[in-house]
């Protein structure tokens, strides 16, 4: 998910906590949260009600925009390619793709017989138009930065109706994975001006109504190329306040809470209440502790190394989020991706202490910034501060208003806790967050050697050795990087117990198979 969409000011009332108090009295909820949603055969048809926080009153159905109404996108559009659970690029509108020998030319073949919701058949011209729209500076698409370094709008060619060719300036063997971003949904040629309201795509649902930051509905697309979806209809509602969203679920007004990572106490209330339950999206939240490499505290690599050796990710996982996730050990690649480097760095507070002494920074004392922006940031800050105390590091927890957290603290203060959503393909993840000078490089570290390894990986057309290079890059980030990854957290999603086959990972939501149990059961 776009960070912009979740980075919202919410009234962080004690409501959920109160609700917890109110309901736990009625019966002790189970201590163990269900791992995944119920699977089974859903009843055909039905209407699913989804509550979501709106990105802003300026949100749009144009997926290329930084203010897209995210939940609608997967229901109404398709991309050329998408990612599977393990991070592999798999077909969506393109059925096959191939490159020339040095990976500078990529040719995609489109699925036959696909039509947009307005009846117009999908052709290569639509793909070319969509890519040009994403690259258009006026669109200000978050994905433009990644794509525009490799090619311009003129480098996309519609070879024939069903063939598109991209000519890249530099070799990139991972290029298709960069088109899996949720900004790359394919829209009809010439629709850039209207797509934000019409939402005409090729997806499993057609847009019925939509109002920015309000309510909207989509209905099943009977002609969907991958078979008609189970549900007849999905209704979306905007509820900004997290507690109000949870109340809407508890009172059965909605069936699913999108983009809502519930804190543990609320999750227990929801699990323990009649008619509602939770599902976990494994490792969906990637928590980071960026050390600002340009600050006087962390310009020294010895200090950065000490800050890592001083803590144990697995213990932090237990303390901060009751084990609902995985230890990160400062490797930013999520554990479910095949490309993750196996094993992890040591935990050695004694060596951390020695390193600090060597750097002349023993007894390091600085604030660590946190905010109620996301429920787990503060628990992580507290758990981290507690652990590094053993290495003689004294951190003061400093909580600031969630309003200005990402404008006044992020990339400005030497030490803070932040998060991203996982779901980026490995190449994009490493290049976007860790390459020197990238606008998302939150630690501000420039490492020319890392950039070279990343370039070499892109140019390598052999899958085995390319993966080895990406793993080298991970090792460099673990050893020398300035952006720590303490843990990956499961996103805890509240849903009605009537919902079956809910599946979500990365930026993928399975809108085709999700359904409702027959109401008699």
């Amino acid at each position: 998910m776009p960070q912009g969409a979740t980075r919202r000011t919410l009234l962080q009332g004690a409501l959920a906590g109160l609700a917890a108090g109110g309901l736990t009295a009625c019966g002790a909820p189970p201590l163990i949260l269900p791992k995944s949603a119920v699977t089974g055969t859903p009843a055909r048809g039905g209407t699913l009600h989804i509550a979501r926080p709106a990105a802003s009153a300026a949100e749009t159905l144009d997926s290329a925009s930084s203010l897209s109404a995210y939940e609608y996108l997967g229901a109404i559009y398709n991309r050329l390619v998408k990612l599977d659970v393990k991070g592999k690029t798999v077909p969506d509108l393109a059925t096959e793709w191939s490159s020339n020998s040095d990976a500078t030319q990529w040719t995609f073949t489109l699925r036959a017989g696909v039509s947009f919701h307005n009846g117009k058949p999908l052709t290569a011209a639509d793909v070319r138009y969509t890519i040009a729209h994403i690259l258009d500076p006026d669109t200000a698409s978050p994905q433009a930065g990644t794509l525009s370094t490799m090619f311009g709008p003129k480098d996309v060619e519609a070879v024939d109706d069903r063939t598109v060719r991209f000519r890249l300036k530099t070799p990139n063997a991972e290029f298709p994975s960069l088109l899996t971003a949720y900004q790359c949904y394919i829209i009809p040629e010439g629709s850039a001006k209207t797509i934000g309201k019409t939402g005409i795509g090729t997806g499993p649902f057609r847009l019925e109504s939509y109002r920015a930051a309000g309510a909207g509905a989509v209905v099943a697309n009977e002609d969907y190329f991958d078979g008609r979806p189970v549900l007849d209809r999905i209704e979306f509602f905007s509820i900004q306040d997290t507690s109000a969203r949870v109340n809407a679920l508890l009172s059965s007004q909605v069936d699913l809470l999108a983009q809502t990572n519930m804190d543990n106490a609320t999750a227990r209330v929801v699990t323990g209440s009649r008619g509602t339950t939770v599902a976990r999206v494994p490792n969906a939240q990637w928590y980071t502790i960026p050390m600002l490499a340009t600050s006087k505290e962390f310009q020294d690599p010895l200090v950065r190394r000490a800050m890592k050796l001083a803590y144990d990710s697995d213990t932090l996982l237990q303390t901060a989020i009751q084990g609902t996730g995985s230890g990160g050990w400062d490797n930013p690649v999520p554990p479910n991706l095949e490309a993750r480097l196996p094993g992890h760095r040591p935990y050695d507070p004694e060596q951390a202490r020695a390193l600090l002494k060597k750097a002349g920074k023993d007894g390091l004392r600085i604030p660590i910034y946190t905010s109620a922006y996301e429920p787990n940031l503060t628990p992580i800050a507290v758990a981290y501060a507690e652990q590094v105390r053993k290495a003689g590091i004294d951190l003061t927890i400093t909580s600031v208003s969630s309003d200005s957290y990402y404008t006044a603290v992020w990339m400005k203060k030497p030490l803070m806790v932040s998060y991203w959503y996982t779901g980026r393909p490995v190449d994009q993840l490493l290049n976007q967050i860790f390459r020197s000078g990238s606008s998302y490089n939150e630690s501000g570290l420039s490492d020319k050697r890392l950039d070279e390894v990343l370039d070499a990986a892109r140019a390598d057309t052999n899958e085995q050795s390319r993966r080895a290079k990406y793993q080298d890059a991970q090792q460099m980030i673990v050893d020398n990087g300035a952006d720590m990854t303490p843990i990956f957290g499961d996103r805890i999603v509240g849903l009605s117990d009537r919902v079956v086959n809910y599946q979500e990972y990365g930026f993928e939501f399975d809108y085709v198979n999700i359904g409702l149990k027959a109401s008699s059961s």
Partner: protein
């Protein structure tokens, strides 16, 4: 009449000052609207361009007088975020707020004045004690707790009312109708205590006056003494308490509206703060200021009607306005 003219003039000056403070307070909010709109990976050039487009690069005084003169003509500008007319957005939200505020006001004032008089008339009895304890309890419970308890009981455990409004700003009256009741009850509960307590204490004062005693000794029925002789005078110190509560209700009740996801003025305010939608924010603050000034003016004029002394003694003492009772809930003024 001079008094009325003077009050009107004072109101205009107050509004002018309010507009001044509103504008500059909003300017002082942390965060830059251009950065906010463009998101975290905005380039400095893009931010500069947008600032120029929005006129943010002009002098703050120029912007203030431009804004004020169009506001006087009813043009509140367009929202920086949605691009819609601020006046339209604001009137929709204000309409929704009125839907809960007016019933809450009517029910709340009626109940609390009656209960206050009743408790005063039965001073020291069980009735009085019960009312006192209940008002103390409701005074000490914050409204978001009241709202949450109501939701748990009447929306989750016994599902008769919806917990939240789902449709957002485009909600129609029939969408809102079932969802109105819990917010109304929440508002009534959080406002009555103050009015009950001030009504009770000033009615007790009224009952001990010589004219009340004289009336009673003459054999006038107690009910008549209470409602005809005591209450009009006793209402004088209560009026400011009522007016502050009414202004608070009309100005948008942020917490209650947020808990119920109710698309009124308070929720619009919260959303505009988080998106740094300055034109909307300024317009809301200005509207709230107007509401406060108008309601207070109305209360003063009503006091004038109720109190013959204020009409005759005008020439000597300048403005003997009734002092707000101690319970005035200043803490509830939306900020």
């Amino acid at each position: 009449m001079i008094y009325v003219a003077r009050r009107l003039l004072a109101s205009v000056v107050t509004l002018f000052l309010a507009s001044f403070f509103v504008f500059f307070a909003v300017q002082a909010l942390p965060g830059d609207v251009a950065e906010q709109l463009l998101g975290q990976n905005a380039t400095p050039e893009a931010v500069a361009t947008l600032r120029a487009q929005l006129g943010l690069d002009q002098s703050v005084w120029v912007r203030y007088f431009d804004w004020l003169s169009s506001a006087v003509h009813g043009d509140l500008g367009t929202s920086l975020v949605s691009g819609e007319s601020v006046a339209e957005t604001l009137s929709t939200a204000f309409g929704h707020t009125l839907l809960i505020a007016i019933p809450a006001m009517i029910i709340g004032v009626t109940i609390s004045v009656l209960l206050g008089v009743w408790a005063a008339a039965r001073r020291g009895t069980k009735v009085d004690n019960t009312v006192s304890v209940l008002t103390l309890i409701t005074m000490s419970i914050p409204e978001f707790v009241v709202a949450t308890v109501l939701i748990i009981v009447f929306a989750i455990v016994i599902p008769i009312f919806p917990a939240v409004v789902l449709q957002g700003p485009s909600a129609t009256f029939s969408d809102l109708l079932p969802a109105l009741w819990l917010p109304i009850v929440t508002l009534v509960i959080s406002m009555v205590a103050y009015i009950i307590r001030s009504t009770r204490s000033s009615t007790i004062d009224g009952l001990t006056t010589e004219y009340a005693t004289a009336a009673e000794l003459k054999g006038v029925k107690r009910r008549v003494v209470l409602f005809k002789h005591v209450l009009p005078t006793a209402m004088l110190p209560v009026l400011p308490v009522i007016s502050i509560n009414v202004a608070w209700l009309l100005g948008g009740v942020v917490v209650t509206e947020t808990v119920f996801n109710y698309p009124g003025l308070g929720k619009l305010m919260i959303d505009s703060v988080s998106t740094r939608d300055l034109p909307v924010l300024q317009a809301i603050a200005l509207l709230s200021a107007c509401v406060y000034v108008l309601v207070n003016l109305a209360a003063d004029l009503l006091a004038l009607l109720l109190d013959p002394r204020q009409r005759t003694s005008r020439r000597r003492s300048s403005r003997p306005r009734p002092k707000p009772a101690l319970e005035a809930k200043t803490s509830e003024v939306p900020t």
